[in-house]
Symmetry: C2
Subunit: 455 residues, 2 copies
Amino acid sequence: MARRVFSRTETSDQPSRRLSKALIPSGMATLLPEAAQRVRLLEQAMFENFIKWGYQEIIPPTFEYFDVLAAGLSSKALETCYKFADWSTGRILVLRPDVTAQIARMVAMGLAGQTLPIRLCYRTTVFRSEPVHAGREREIFQVGAELIGSDTPVMDAEILALLLELLRGLGLEAFKVSLGHVGFYQALLEKSGLSAQGQQQAKMAAAHKDLPKLEAILRAEGIDSKIAHTILETPDRYGREEVLSWGRRVAGNNRALIEPIERLDMVYHLLKQAGFQDHLLIDLGEFRGFEYYDGLVFDVFAEGLGCELGGGGRYNHLIGRFGRDLPSTGFALDVDRLFRARQALVTQEQNDLPPVLVVSSIAQYGVAFKVSQLLRAQGLTVLQEQGATHGAAHRERLRHRARQAGIPAVICLAAKASPQTFVLNATDENSWERSPYLAVHELPSWLHRHVYARS
Amino acid sequence: MARRVFSRTETSDQPSRRLSKALIPSGMATLLPEAAQRVRLLEQAMFENFIKWGYQEIIPPTFEYFDVLAAGLSSKALETCYKFADWSTGRILVLRPDVTAQIARMVAMGLAGQTLPIRLCYRTTVFRSEPVHAGREREIFQVGAELIGSDTPVMDAEILALLLELLRGLGLEAFKVSLGHVGFYQALLEKSGLSAQGQQQAKMAAAHKDLPKLEAILRAEGIDSKIAHTILETPDRYGREEVLSWGRRVAGNNRALIEPIERLDMVYHLLKQAGFQDHLLIDLGEFRGFEYYDGLVFDVFAEGLGCELGGGGRYNHLIGRFGRDLPSTGFALDVDRLFRARQALVTQEQNDLPPVLVVSSIAQYGVAFKVSQLLRAQGLTVLQEQGATHGAAHRERLRHRARQAGIPAVICLAAKASPQTFVLNATDENSWERSPYLAVHELPSWLHRHVYARS
């Protein structure tokens, strides 16, 4: 089969793209056959793990009423979501910008049952209305999980162990998960005496790692230099146990500062016991942009990719916004980026046998169909087509068709109404070898010995 | 696990729905865990067949530019598609109302390669902006295939044989595929002398089986009573070979009438040779609403469902509208309806083993994680949670948790840092039996003998 590639429309600088009107909206994903197959294998591998861990799939609707879902969306999601009018009700619809908010809405409505904890997973796309010149994705494939109804270190560890196990199951080795806790920074800002508005601004500046702006905010409100120094230093504190020790020293006797550090410590050690220490980092500057997170948070980074593969964390107050108070944690992975992180690994999956072609006259269609079905039942991919198979000109045409489509063997019926076949073997560049006559049941082993062993 | 059901928001007549503002847009699909799992199994079964037949998956973008895609949309799709503005370009976007048009656009752009024929398949959702009171689905899950670049009876037979094989592979038995050919009726209308506008109106009336309207159109243009009679009679002509004989008599020496009947005859006989005759009907009133079809067309009906499961046909001129002339045929199946047609069959798939619960103190998390992973590697679904396992009160709490969640066995660690386990067996209604101490490697076979054999 012809090689095809993952294709995403980019904001291209090529003159052709700038001169003519684009045919496809920028940033929309089209997955051509090779990419679609790999994404399918990738999703299957992840879903096998989800099932074993007791996570059940849920498929949320593609759009919802904006006024309902907005309660669970971050300010960024509110800004960048696609909205449009529902002509039959006069209300505004929104294309799903975030699955977690939808699941929170469904769980609050009781759709996922009452027995806690609830373990859910999904694979779907989310939509963001990015400006064309930003060149960012507008349709993003995600796989994720949510663990709802329990707020313990063991549940924090479970969602992280599942995430780590998924990534290892995909054959990824060079990745790191950074663990943070939004409560520590929150408590530092509260303790500093900053105004509510100042705290909000400081959080945004810290989330964007904008230290000069953070410093200006602290100076403007005349914050004590010792605590200001700690607030400026925290976003850079990442590593292993030593970061926890530093955090404990900063916390002193302050319960609001001690508790996040203790939670981080406990989850980190649970994950060490489960054998994941090589993939873990503690990062006190890990905030996930705050958004709706209010506890332990985490990000996944792959070496050499320069962007995060996904992340998540605890959002104990999100479901409550939809009317049912339930603590929760979860994660989402970006399938497109996972796919890129795995580029080096996929060749090993590409050993699927190439298709064979069964050719017959139209009069022998029924026999040819039975031959095709027998080979398909043996796990082969079979193309069945109509054509003449005797004579040099017809053989040359078949050879051209086979070469062009990467088909290593053409199976021909011997004579009218006979169950005998012969194989034209295209694996040798120089000859167009013809097999002896074969009974149909002899075909699979002959193909394996003479065609697939060589190709 | 708690039982959950397929849920689609309906236009409900319940007072509660009428009095309060709906939380979810009417007609949007939400697949809760049990339904999502079945849909996944259903898609997997179909994709196994697609692969064996050489059909490669393609994932098209969720929305496109309206001005580009409109060239390939039927008038009904144009009316009912969701459109919205792309603020960054000022152009109109459309949520995919039809996958075939998207694939036609992609193939015309050369995205699927140049080697013909091209065999593609997909599973995705399409969107239709139906009025709320119509109570129809707005988000529809589809699985389909397209066979592009060849116009022969064998290719017509291939797409139908694939469709029939998919349906049989799902365990469906009580279904029929009706075969028609839009060319026969088209030629009848042309031969009658109807004006172009009259022909268009007659086609629409025939597609809606509105015979009184059809009669009025024919009378208004004073069409000869013999051919008018045939035009009125054709939509009711369905059955087996006798319908082909009738068509041949009507056709006489008229090539434009003979050719569609000969094509139907040939494809019907090819499919008989492939062993599908029990599922086939010839139906000269099968038009698929004409839309973009211009050759052999077909519909799939399941007994007792009262609506079609899907259908398709030949659309030789669709890809040309996007700039590359290629004959094609294809089909789409409605996953929601397939799902309903299979309701009776799914119990046999529900024999998945229910999950077991591994419980330990937080101090034994690492050992409990290893036990869980070992059982997962054996194919079991394992929930790992924290809790006390000794003493009557804790045992009663575990029993309640197990009963509530349909968990047949709770696995407890014997003592601190010991690899020994014991199992609390919940399969007996009356006793809460405790196993002897077991080594971790003994667990899988013990569970199979004492728990799963009984539950």
